[in-house]
Symmetry: C2
Subunit: 132 residues, 2 copies
DNA sequence: ATAAGGTCTCCAGTCACTGGAAGGTCAAGC
DNA sequence: GCTTGACCTTCCAGTGACTGGAGACCTTAT
């Protein structure tokens, strides 16, 4: 299976697949002509990685997840711990963005949005010692 | 005013302040010894940038905001448009993270987290064609 | 034979810093 | 005057996870 077929069936860009090989997430065979020759197992791994990435896991976490997946002696607790750490990080980011959202939203509401220069958004940026 | 004083009073790292000069956000004077010599205006600008950054504005947006701030003939509508675009982006990110959070949270709840290898998290990553 | 399209490698750029090396400057204490 | 230590300078490289592009090779169809 050539790389563009794999790209089509996993939804991952060709460049990304090559990159995943570069960093050692996959190791597809090579044909005589030097082309990568992907097995079903490679395909499966890439799909796995693609889904983990879509859940926001970082590359190193993907590597860990793949290792756990291939380890029949794993404890589900290890997987859960990894996922929970990631969830905590997501919650942290959501909270951070929510904070930004609230402040920004207030400022936008207060701004007339007309031809005049007076603007509470700029006033806040210029003066606010904190956004409490 | 030397750079470490500015760092102290703006809360920005020294490295970041130098970087902001590099990319042309500020242009502090230089003393005879080659040290940067920050004016109150530089300080004010850095504080402004720091607050815009803390609201999640990117560097180019900060540059635009600073330009609008210094333009007495600005229209508040321009500021509002910029802020609204950023708010939309934040909302998009929150929605994306929320989606991840929901999926991940379900999977974590379903995982026993014990010594056994069975794990719905890995099962989902390995098999799920989508996370609908 | 040629043209189109797929594949290869390698290099550079993204964003907003951050770390570190190597060296100049300054103020205090001896 | 000399040293010590804290400060300052520039420049280079690395971060995460790709992405774009150049230049060259391979394959398939006409």
């Amino acid at each position: 299976m050539n790389i563009s077929d794999v790209a089509r069936s996993t939804g991952l860009p060709v460049k990304t697949i090559r990159y995943y090989e570069d960093i050692g997430l996959i190791a597809p065979a090579r044909s005589d002509n030097g082309y990568r020759d992907f097995s079903d197992s490679d395909l499966h791994k890439l799909a796995f990685i693609g889904r983990a990435r879509s859940l926001g896991f970082g590359i190193e976490a993907c590597r860990d997840l793949l290792r756990l997946y291939n380890d029949q002696t794993r404890a589900s607790a290890d997987v859960k711990r990894l996922a929970q750490a990631h969830l905590d990080e997501i919650d942290r980011k959501i909270a951070e963005l929510g904070q930004m959202r609230d402040t920004l939203s207030h400022l936008i509401d207060a701004c007339a949005g007309n031809d005049r220069p007076d603007c509470p958004i700029l006033a806040d940026l210029a003066a606010a010692p904190d956004h409490a």
